[in-house]
Symmetry: D2
Subunit: 138 residues, 4 copies
């Protein structure tokens, strides 16, 4: 069972804005990158080709403590905080060396998508339940 | 004094992802677009060329109620919720016709940026205080 | 028959990078925005929900003559340059007032996408052929 | 002297669009990522903090041979093709295993940016000339 993942990553130029720092929308993408790496670490893909199961986001929050700059080397720690019948909640900390850059949380829901029908929430499939675990001190 | 802005906008193809819906990171950009339009409506720019004053984001949150699709016509209602000495907090509702798509909040802080120095929080300048007002029922 | 479209648009903050100007990748998105507006003007959508027909890009080129800045008001002129059996080629000029900002070209191909099969090129459907025309002096 | 760089990278979900494939604008960002990695390999940064020297793009072209999908592992081969007094031209090939995904080219120009003045082209600085070389068979 995988319950957390530490993704190391470098800030790219196209992630910065005219204020000279990483645009705040990118933190959500960093979080998603670490989430998907966590799933791969667990041996599963969050979006296998042709799957009718999807994982839209239902809530996110982020507190920005410090700015990020071009070529900064950062670490995104993504942890599974809670797993309910149909949702998963992650907690995330972004750091650059000893600097705490941001703390964030994200909740996703399991849905089934059929052509021409609205998405409908679904209990999390067994193969996901068996591979993702809640982080001990989350 | 301007306290709210309604931005009408169409979903672009590059905002969608392989789930066939708008990627969740885009909602923050929609919010920012409406924020900057609100400032222009108030007669000011949030980032005039050469200014040492900046407005980094310190906190954001978003609840996603429904998905958005390519070419959807949406409205982003951005309102000034509170103004403190150094920060501004907005509340935001995204709708598509009668559908409530997302509700969000964002707090920004006024900073001074000098070359080679870290950003430092600053009281909000008078010309901004005079032009932005808190929305009545925010 | 629609053969060209002029899209007016303002540069958004998230389109800029740490050089203080619009990131060069955004010009392709501006071009796509104008392309899709051209199709809507012609009464068709380039990606109707559930369609098996798609229009991947096969070639693009862009020459950048001048930089774009936050809040610049720009015009993207998109014109149909040639229509062959399976492809459409556009030419594009981006301007800010009298300033020529960029000139670009893009070729797209009509494909059919079926689940589990590779995309396959296809003659352009009649309803598209009937609505898009080649610009006179393109 | 560094004349080429092979960047290995995985396709992220936020790089895909509603057609289920990587949006064509992302190929330019892949190219830029590999370019900046090439510069770091050469011991230099293309955008050091506080520098007045910049490298805007003046021309790009890309031919798309095949689509990219979520979680694909790709390689971006970036090579210095020509160095003139003020410009550098790169050639780029993107592959996924044995599949040729895209071939591209990009020309950048060296400029000086001073506050309140337009950017002005400049001969390439010596420390860059000494560290970047033209790839043998480019």
């Amino acid at each position: 069972m995988t319950s957390e993942y530490r993704l190391k990553r470098r800030v790219q130029f196209y992630e910065t804005d005219a204020a000279g720092i990483v645009h705040f929308s990118w933190y959500l993408r960093y979080m998603e990158e670490a989430e998907h790496a966590l799933w791969r670490e667990a041996g599963i893909s969050i979006a296998p080709a042709g799957s009718e199961i999807g994982w839209p986001r239902v809530a996110i929050s982020c507190e920005y403590h410090s700015a990020l700059f071009f070529e900064d080397e950062i670490e995104i720690l993504m942890r599974v905080a809670t797993i309910s019948r149909k949702t998963i909640r992650y907690e995330c900390v972004i750091t650059r060396g000893d600097d705490r850059i941001a703390t964030a949380a994200m909740t996703i829901v399991c849905v089934i998508k059929k052509a021409g029908e609205p998405m409908r929430a679904l209990p999390i499939p067994t193969d996901v339940i068996e591979r993702l675990g809640v982080a001990v001190d989350a």
